[in-house]
Amino acid sequence: MRLDVVLRVTTKFILAPLLLFALYVQFHGDYGPGGGFQAGVIAAAAIILYGLINGLAAARRIVPDAVLERLIPAGVLIYALVGVAGMFTGENFLGYNHLAHDAVHGQEWGVFLVEAGVFVTVFSSMVGIFYAFAGRRRA
């Protein structure tokens, strides 16, 4: 597989657009199809593709295990903290209305931050699960 020129060159061309597309899906999720899950999975797919073509060690240099192990809980924490922040502004848990100067802006901020939390957890979970499977030796 490693000598397959077509695959390696195509991967090189496709990686940057894939990551860019993930960011587009993430930040355009309020206006079109998309959001944290889809963006997280697409970004993870880019890393997985890189790992499949160039080997696991190369992928681990880009996204090391230590980073992943912190990102997986970090996303859930971001999400929960946004909820708690809503409580401090006098709303219910995960009530975004008072996060900014008016309710609509507060909602937009809340949704943005929550989607960011989802992205972080989904991305790191998918890459982490891939590493776990790919790094396993055959019994």
């Binding site: 899950f37 989904v122 499977f133």
Partner: protein
């Protein structure tokens, strides 16, 4: 129009039921654990279909508000199924990890072979 209506009514129900039953059959009848997980995926996706189908309005559009459109599909099933898909991949990953560990411990992923091996171990211990 008159011919397509009963056909589509039959197909939406029939295919949903067929997918669900096929998934269920694979989970029960097949001993291979990877195949069981495939069956579970089939079963899950039939539930996706069952939820998404009623949200559709013929001639409508996706639930993204725009002045150019008036008829939208209902967004609630979409949200529920989005959640279900992501939870599905989580359970699938965990299930596959368990299958790999089982293979490492027993040397096989066939259910009856694992049971036979466990019985053999038990008999050995009792003697």
């Amino acid at each position: 129009m008159t011919l397509i209506d009963p056909l589509i009514a039959l197909a939406t129900r029939g295919v949903t039921i067929f997918l669900m039953v096929a998934g269920l059959y694979v989970v029960i009848a097949r001993g291979n654990m990877v195949k069981k997980l495939v069956g579970l995926s089939l079963f899950q996706s039939s539930v996706y279909l069952l939820f998404i189908l009623p949200g559709k309005i013929v001639g409508g559009t996706a639930p993204i508000i725009d002045p150019a459109f008036e008829v939208y599909a209902h967004p609630l099933p979409h949200v529920l199924i989005l959640t279900a898909i992501v939870v599905g991949i989580g359970t699938l990953a965990l299930g596959l990890a368990l299958v790999v560990r089982i293979r490492e411990a027993f040397g096989t992923i066939e259910e009856d072979e694992i049971l036979a091996r466990e019985d053999a171990v038990r008999v050995e211990r009792d003697e």
